[in-house]
C-alpha cells in the first residue's frame, strides 16, 4: 500500500483539523491502539510488560506533561520529578486515609494537588525566564525532596518517606497481573493524552506557542502572558502528577522520595529533547528511547567488551550509559533540535513522495 494523501480531499474544516488528516495515518494509529489493547497482553511476557511497556507508558504521560511546559510553552523546568512526587504522595494520602477511596479518583486527585503545587512554583515564570526559571524549578525539586523526607504527615508518618500500596482495584477489576496493570495504564494514558492533544491543537495550544515564540507580540493581540504561563504549568503538572501516581502505585508498589529525585527530572527533560520539543508523539518516542537504551546497553555492552577483551562491571555499564546519554543529547541538539519527531515527519514526507524524488 503506497502512502499518499492525494485523492483524499477534505471537504470541511472539521476534517481538516483532525488529529490524523491522512487516512493511512488514522488506520495505522487505530490499528496500533487495537493491537496494544488486544494483542500485547497475549503476546508479551511478564518481563516485557513490567520492565518495558508499563514504564514506557507512564513515562510517556509524564513526558507529554513536560513537553507541554517546555516544548509548547517554552518554560524550562527542571522540577518535574517533584511534581511526580506530589502526585504520588497526594494520591497515597487520599488512598490510605480515606476509606473506600477509588483508585482512579485518588490518582486524579493526586494530579489536582500537583496542579496546585505546579501553579505555585510556576509563579517565578511571570518574572524570569530561561536559566533563572530553571533555578526556580530546581528550588521546587529540592524543596519537595526535603518535604517528603522530613514532613512526617505527608508520608503517613513513615520513617524514611517510604510507603507501600497494594490490592489495587478499579470498580471491581482487581489489578493483579502484569497484564492488568498494563491495560489500566494504557487506558489512563490514552485518555489523558487524547485530552492533551486536543488542548494542544486548540486555542490554548496556540496561546502556549505564542508565548513561547514571542510573548511581547502575544500580549499585543490580547493574550495574557500571566494566565497562559500558569495554565501551562497547571496542565503540565496535572499530567505529571497523575503519571507520578501511576508510577508509584502501579509500577513500583512501594517507593520513597528518591524515586522522584533530580535524576528523574533530568530524565524527563532528556526524553522531551530527544523525542522532540513541541510534539505529543515526540514525547512517546523520547520515552521509548530512554526506556530501551539501558536495556539495550546491558545486553550489548558485555558482548562488545568481549570483543575488545576487557571486563565491564555494572558500574561501568552505568558510566557508559551516562556517556552515551550525554553524547546523544549533544548530538541531537546540534543535528536535529526538533528531535525524533522531526525525523519521523521528514521520513513520512519522503514516504509520501516515494517512489518519486520530489
Amino acid at each position: 500500500m503506497i502512502y499518499r494523501d492525494s485523492g483524499h480531499m477534505v471537504t470541511s474544516y472539521r476534517a481538516d483539523q483532525q488529529i490524523f488528516p491522512v487516512l493511512q495515518d488514522r488506520w495505522a494509529v487505530l490499528g496500533l491502539i487495537g493491537f496494544a489493547i488486544a494483542g500485547v497482553p497475549l503476546l508479551a511476557d511478564e518481563y516485557v510488560l513490567r520492565a518495558v511497556l508499563i514504564p514506557f507508558l507512564i513515562l510517556s504521560l509524564a513526558a507529554v506533561g513536560v513537553n507541554i511546559l517546555v516544548g509548547y510553552c517554552g518554560q524550562i523546568s527542571l522540577g518535574s520529578g517533584a511534581f511526580m512526587a506530589v502526585g504520588a504522595y497526594a494520591a497515597y494520602n487520599l488512598f490510605v486515609r480515606v476509606p473506600g477511596m477509588p483508585l482512579v479518583v485518588a490518582l486524579l486527585a493526586g494530579g489536582l494537588v500537583s496542579t496546585l503545587v505546579g501553579v505555585f512554583f510556576g509563579i517565578p515564570s511571570l518574572r524570569v525566564r530561561g536559566l533563572y526559571l530553571a533555578v526556580a524549578t530546581l528550588a521546587a525539586q529540592f524543596f519537595c525532596d526535603w518535604a517528603f523526607l522530613r514532613i512526617k504527615w505527608l508520608t503517613n508518618n513513615s520513617i524514611s518517606g517510604s510507603v507501600t500500596v497494594s490490592n489495587l482495584e478499579v470498580a471491581g477489576w482487581h489489578l493483579n497481573s502484569a497484564a492488568d496493570n498494563y491495560l489500566f495504564c494504557l487506558a489512563v494514558v490514552l485518555v489523558l493524552c487524547l485530552g492533551a492533544k486536543n488542548l494542544v491543537r486548540g486555542a490554548v495550544g496556540r496561546e502556549w506557542m505564542a508565548i513561547r515564540d514571542m510573548d511581547v507580540a502575544a500580549s499585543v493581540i490580547g493574550i495574557q502572558p500571566t494566565s497562559v504561563k500558569l495554565s501551562a504549568f497547571a496542565v503540565s503538572s496535572f499530567l505529571i502528577g497523575v503519571a507520578g501516581g501511576l508510577w508509584a502505585f502501579v509500577h513500583l508498589g512501594s517507593w520513597e522520595p528518591s524515586a522522584f529525585s533530580i535524576d528523574r527530572s533530568l530524565q524527563l527533560l532528556f526524553m522531551v529533547i530527544i523525542g522532540g520539543l513541541g510534539s505529543i508523539m515526540g514525547s512517546f518516542f523520547g520515552a521509548a528511547f530512554i526506556v530501551l537504551l539501558p536495556l539495550l546497553l546491558s545486553r550489548t555492552l558485555p558482548a562488545a567488551s568481549g570483543l575488545f577483551g576487557f571486563e565491564l562491571s555494572t558500574a561501568a555499564n552505568s558510566h557508559a550509559e551516562s556517556m552515551i546519554f550525554g553524547a546523544l543529547i549533544v548530538w541531537f541538539l546540534i543535528v536535529e533540535p526538533h528531535g525524533l519527531a522531526r525525523l519521523w515527519s521528514l521520513g513520512k514526507r519522503r514516504l509520501m513522495l516515494w517512489p518519486f524524488a520530489h
Binding site: A136, S322, V330, I334
Partner: protein, 297 residues
C-alpha cells in the same frame, strides 16, 4: 567553609557565562573530573615513574591534571560549542547538561568511582582565633584558611588577567557581543577555548581543595547544583558577586540549619540556598552585582 567551595564553583559559572553567554551546567562535572584526575594521577605518577610520593609528584600530578583539563576544554569547544553558536539559551543549557552527563560518566570510567584522597600537604588541625572577643574563640580549620588563601590568590590572578592583558580585554568584548567581537577579528573559538580552560583550572583548584578536605567522590557533582544559587545571588556576570554569594550561602546554610532547622524538622540545608535564590529572582533577578537584564521591545 563550604562557602569558599561554592564561591569557586560559582566563579567557574560566572567566567564561562561572562565570556560566552553560555551557562555551563557541566561545571560540577568538571570539578569532579578534575579532582578525580588529580587524585588518581597523584597515585599513578609515583607508580609509573618510581618516584616517591611527595611534593614533587603531587605537583607533577597537578600539572598533568591541568593539561588534561585544557584538552577537555578544547574538545568541548570543538565538538559542542562551535556548532551551537547561534542557538537560544535553553538549547545551550541543555547541551551543557548533556556534556555534564558525558563528563560524569567518562571521569568515572577512566579514573574509577571509589572515594579517593587528595593530599596536598595542607595541615588539618584547627586553630582558635579571636579568643579575646568570643568565649573560647571561633574554631577555624587551618585547612579552610589555606583554602581561602589559595582561592583569593586565584581570584586576584584572574582579575588581573582580565583587566590588564589583551586576551582579557578580548574576553570581555566577546562576553558583551559575540558578533561585534567577531567582526573586529577576535577569533571566537580560540577565545572560548581559553575561557573553558580557565574554567577548567578553576574547577581543578576547587576540586583540589574540596577533595583534600572531604575526599573525592561522586557527590561532588551534586555540590555544583548547590552552587547555582550562588551565582544567582551574586549576579551571573560578576566575579566579586560569586565570591560574596558563595560566602553568604555557605554561612547562611549553616546558620539556617542551626536556628531555623529544628522548627522544620532539620535537613533544610538542601533547599535553603535555593529558597534564597528564588527570593532574589522575584525581587532582584540580576543579583547583588549583576547587570540589569533589559528586555528590549
Amino acid at each position: 567553609m563550604a562557602g569558599m567551595l561554592y564561591s569557586l564553583i560559582g566563579l567557574g559559572f560566572v567566567l564561562i557565562f561572562k565570556a560566552s553567554g553560555v551557562f555551563n551546567f557541566a561545571q560540577g562535572a568538571l570539578v569532579l573530573f578534575a579532582a578525580l584526575a588529580l587524585a588518581r594521577l597523584a597515585e599513578w605518577i609515583p607508580k609509573w615513574s618510581g618516584m616517591s610520593p611527595g611534593a614533587l609528584s603531587t605537583t607533577l600530578a597537578f600539572i598533568a591534571a591541568a593539561a588534561i583539563m585544557f584538552l577537555l576544554a578544547w574538545l568541548i569547544e570543538r565538538l559542542v560549542l562551535r556548532h551551537l553558536v547561534n542557538q537560544d539559551a535553553a538549547t545551550l543549557v541543555m547541551a551543557t547538561l548533556g556534556v555534564a552527563y558525558f563528563i560524569d560518566g567518562m571521569g568515572q570510567a577512566i579514573f574509577g568511582s571509589d572515594i579517593y584522597k587528595i593530599d596536598i600537604g595542607m595541615p588539618k588541625d584547627p586553630i582558635f582565633v579571636l579568643a579575646d572577643y568570643f568565649q573560647g574563640g571561633i574554631l577555624v580549620n587551618k585547612e579552610d584558611l589555606y583554602a581561602a588563601l589559595i582561592a583569593t590568590a586565584l581570584v586576584t590572578a584572574l582579575s588581573l588577567f582580565f583587566q590588564l592583558t589583551s586576551t582579557g580585554r578580548a574576553l570581555r568584548a566577546v562576553a558583551d557581543d559575540h558578533q561585534a567581537a567577531q567582526s573586529i577579528g577576535i577569533p571566537l573559538d580560540r577565545i572560548w577555548v581559553i575561557v573553558w580552560c580557565v574554567a577548567g583550572v578553576v574547577a581543578l583548584v576547587a576540586g583540589m581543595i574540596w577533595g583534600s578536605k572531604l575526599g573525592v567522590q561522586f557527590s561532588l557533582s551534586i555540590v555544583a547544583l548547590r552552587a547555582l544559587p550562588v551565582v544567582i545571588l551574586g549576579g551571573l556576570t560578576s566575579v566579586p558577586g560569586a565570591i560574596l554569594g558563595g560566602l553568604i550561602i555557605g554561612v547562611g546554610e549553616k546558620l539556617s540549619e542551626v536556628y531555623v532547622g529544628p522548627f522544620l524538622g532539620g535537613g533544610i540545608e538542601i533547599w535553603f540556598a535555593y529558597a534564597l535564590a528564588v527570593a532574589f529572582l522575584l525581587i532582584r533577578p540580576q543579583g547583588l552585582f549583576g547587570e540589569k537584564i533589559i528586555n528590549r521591545v
